[in-house]
Symmetry: C2
Subunit: 598 residues, 2 copies
């Protein structure tokens, strides 16, 4: 822990020179995505806490880390002896960051933040909360104190073909401008790498699990300016980009570009996706800033609605992934049958990747897989890595949540397998989770309906047994992009974005029995047109995922005839779609797994 | 229509003298309730439009009336020849009131409103929308131009006994102050007559359908100031009020009282329930105003949660009303059986009141009843009065929506009866409405759940047939107070108020086939504690209404075994509860109506 103390001392020295009484270090990078490169893991480096979510605040004599319930145990262990106080978010009595700082520092003090790590929106809220304390913008202080800090790395990127994305950048730009519907000349500022990847039809490998390249972009009504590393594209690719309306510039020129751009053009961006630094640069020439009025930004709202080529790509990805799951499940059964003593969560997690690796089109995992046996399954974001070998055996559930990227689509599937003998309660809980998943799958609703209206279809089955899951039921899924994508969701919490035809969403109710077991069943569903009549247009869901559901724990008495029929149809459909891609043995196995129940 | 032209000319003269270019006349009174006395129906008097909802705007040369889809047909007929333009609200292309005014009047003009008819909240929104036009506050101009304007009438009021309301005013005040949790000295301003009736345990007959007296009130942490008419209470009652912490003053002294109250006390009120005039008076002494942060105000939020005495009262009211409905349904069947040619909607509507009138405790209808045969049922707010005689006969549905006030509770029930032979589609629609109603009735959910999360349980059954209903599924119901009561609701639209144990709500999905038929089935449900465990507290609904549901149109194939079981249990329960209160013939009839289906 001496290391941590020294590092904190280094930062404190830097803060003292700038008369900053408290410094806030979030977990993000300059692009506000879900995953970051090591270069940006300053919060982890400084605190020793390795969880993905957390904010560290350092004052002259104290330091405190805010994180959420997923990480309470891990944070307590990792912070032990560091002198850093753990702040359990959303528990009664836990102060907010602003409340804590106001108590710790003198009135009239200054609070420091790195203006590249706070969005304009976050900054505004923080300023209001910290009032009357002032905020000092302090550029990244870690270069001087983190001697072996890894550099930002840029890899080679690729262009996404029209045959995979369905629309070229010129058409997308047209569509974006039309939806924005702003009369004045404008320059729209993009910092989100997935928004940029979608608009420019490019993909990269700079970020773990997200097929993105680190980049900025901007567009006017006429053209797109892309700022990426010199390594990213070949000359041929650069000229292809130019042909599709995308001009390539150096990543590090972006800030000067924005600063110097014609001041008569209004600046537009979603205020939660533009850093304070870039915001300030964008208006430093006296230009006017207009926040994008669309939730999450115009690009996110268009990106969320998949075109027919993307949808067909998803369907294809599900075929591949379905085959991989079949092979995986057979492997699992055989290992368990022969009484393997060496089967661990980590081995199982690696096996899935290995099986997918047999497809030449496989591009990697869409998130870090969750393979959790028994009580580990009760931790919604459990990782099978770094816990030592956890054997799979005895009587409980094995929860497997994994997804893949293919050039034509992204998958995200959870299945929970019965291992050994289950209790009555376990069978009931499993059936209710399944029931909830099916209830949502069968929904039919009028255009304009929000995800929040549908959430209880899944959640209600779980709460009928006086149980809950505290996460959302569904998140948007990108097309060979981020597996967690906005702006739509299916959650208890209000989200004003209505579901639209073409949106791809997860459907994943769950039950977590702390210290005992976890159950989650997750399909990917497509919102699409069902019928249109005098009342309007109605939507329904098509289930894209093609992975059989373990029927051994199902208590049929708890399922309605409609739900049983849905399940039988689903399994029959899986057999029809996958059987041609399987060998004789696998096909026979699948025919048994997909037998109708009644 | 000459009358209307003359009246408009009268108003225009008055506006001209004050240099007002446009005047906005809403449909409300000084207390922002659902129903008003004739004295306040200025919008109706001036326009000739008799609907309950509508806003009239008058400029020097034009006039326009905004109303919603319920009233499009009626408004078109009633405005014919008046020169007043009909503005169909929420249709594409219809300007908002502010948009229209901005187009019609010169920049720099002034828009007039009566400051007693706009809440502070509405006024703020309107000001923003009308900017840069200014608003001129103009006190009620109708006294001088409406020569035979009826006066405001005040009737004798009554005190509500503790045995009916369960809590005295002193205890309520304590509870209110505790929930408000404001440290400073405060005076809270109440304009809503139902908030006042609840706090002071008083009831009146000044307003149609709402058992309220026209009144204002204010309270500090120590006492309640009630402003009512001198006619309202006897000396004995006044002294009883004083004993319970309520000091009585003259209604017309309220504004001066607020103006003159100790300026060191902060003024508190819900900004949507305090008129601009009273708001201005309240701060005219330099006092500080703090809006009540609780949605709808602290009183509404406490009033919505019924205590055990009120809940028992509701149960008793449902017994009475259940008996009335049994007698009514028998009457209806007998009339139809003997082929009565004289059975009209109006006769049927009056019959229900007549039957209830046999109970000495019956206090009147809780809203204007809806009795709608065939295509009339497709109008959600249809009235059986004033359409000439509409005969009930032939093949269709008869929709009956009616409620009553008793000193111990308020009811609101809709039943739809099959008359003659129904089509397959009618049977299906009826069953789906019933299914939706049952789905919501069976919900079990964790504390903190909002009505918006549960709405689709009912709505989804209807949209499964590609149909909709455009109103909410449920509204709060007052205890011998307003039949429509906030702040909770069960609607598609977001409402951040969670359902709480003790809330009484309607459950009324529907299908309206324009020009053909309407189906609505409405029960009153009570949200109450189900179980508590390590996850938290879970709620369920108890159905309070005790009125059998017509089973003849039910297509059992469309109901799940769970729903059928719910229905059978419900009918068995009704029989048990009501049979002792019925005569032999009625009891036998009910035993047939409540037979189990399977």
């Amino acid at each position: 822990m001496k290391k941590i103390t020294e590092r904190l001392a280094g930062l404190r020295g830097s803060l003292k020179r700038d008369s900053i009484a408290a410094f806030i270090i979030p977990s993000t990078d300059h692009h506000f995505g879900e995953y970051i490169q090591r270069h940006f893991s300053c919060r982890e480096w400084l605190s020793g806490f390795t969880g993905s979510a957390g904010t560290l605040v350092v004052t002259e004599h104290k330091a405190a880390l805010w994180t959420d319930s997923r990480y309470f145990v891990q944070a307590r262990q990792e912070l032990l002896g560091s002198g850093i106080e753990l702040m359990k978010m959303r528990l009664a009595g836990t102060p907010t960051i602003a409340e804590w700082i106001k108590k710790e520092v003198d009135n009239g003090s200054s609070v420091g933040v790195d203006p590249m790590l706070f969005s304009k929106g976050e900054f505004e809220s923080l300023s209001a909360e910290l009032y009357p304390l002032k905020i000092t913008l302090k550029d990244d202080p870690f270069n001087e104190i983190w001697s072996d800090r890894p550099p930002v790395t840029f890899n080679k990127a690729t262009l996404q073909e029209i045959s995979l994305g369905g629309s070229d950048s010129k058409s997308k730009l047209k569509f974006v401008i039309q939806k924005l519907n702003i009369e004045k000349d404008l320059i729209y500022i993009l910092s989100s790498c997935d928004d940029i990847a979608w608009l420019c039809n490019i993909r990269g490998t700079d970020i773990p699990f997200n097929p993105l390249l680190i980049s900025y972009a901007a567009f006017t009504k006429e053209r797109i300016y892309l700022f990426a590393s010199g390594e990213a594209f070949s000359n041929v690719e650069e000229s292809m980009l130019r042909d599709s309306g995308v001009e390539l510039y150096n990543y590090y020129e972006f800030q000067e570009f924005i600063k110097g751009f014609n001041r008569d053009y209004i600046r537009v961006a979603p205020i939660d996706k533009i850093s304070v630094k870039i915001f300030n640069n964008s208006v430093s020439a006296g230009a006017t800033f207009v926040p994008d009025p669309i939730r999450g930004g115009v690009i996110a709202s268009l990106k969320a609605v998949k075109n027919s080529v993307e949808i067909d790509g998803f369907r294809k990805a599900m075929l591949y992934d379905g085959v991989a799951w079949v092979k995986f499940w057979i492997y699992l059964e055989e290992e368990l049958e022969r009484g393997s003593q060496n089967l661990t969560e980590e081995i199982v997690a690696n096996k899935i990747g290995e099986i997918r690796g047999e497809f030449s089109e496989y591009k990697g995992e869409s998130f870090s897989p969750i393979v959790a046996f028994g009580e580990n399954g009760a931790l919604p974001h459990y990782s099978p890595y770094g816990n030592g070998p956890v054997k799979i055996g005895g009587d409980s559930f094995l929860l497997v949540d994994t997804g893949a990227h293919y050039p034509f689509g992204t998958t995200d599937t959870t299945r929970t397998f019965a291992i050994g003998t289950l209790t009555q309660e376990q069978r009931r809980d499993y059936t209710l989770v399944l029931k909830g998943m099916i209830n949502l799958s069968m929904a039919r609703f009028i255009k304009g309906t929000r995800g929040a209206s549908l959430d209880f279809l899944a959640r209600g089955a779980v709460s009928s047994a006086a149980k809950i899951y505290t996460h959302g039921t569904g998140h948007g899924i990108g097309h060979n992009l981020c597996v967690h994508e906005g702006p739509q969701s299916i959650r208890m919490e209000e989200n004003p974005v209505p579901l639209e035809s073409g949106m791809v969403i997860s459907n994943e109710p769950a039950i977590y029995e702390e210290g005992s077991y976890g159950i989650r069943i997750e399909n990917t569903i497509l919102c699409k047109k069902w019928v249109e009549n005098k009342y309007g247009e109605f939507y329904e869901f098509e289930t894209l995922t093609l992975v059989p559901i373990d029927l051994t724990p199902v208590d049929r008495q708890l399922l309605s005839p409609e739900a049983i029929q849905w399940l039988n149809n689903y399994h029959s459909y899986i057999y029809i779609k996958l059987s041609d891609m399987l060998n004789e043995k696998e096909r026979e196995w699948l025919s048994v797994k997909t037998l109708n129940i009644n």
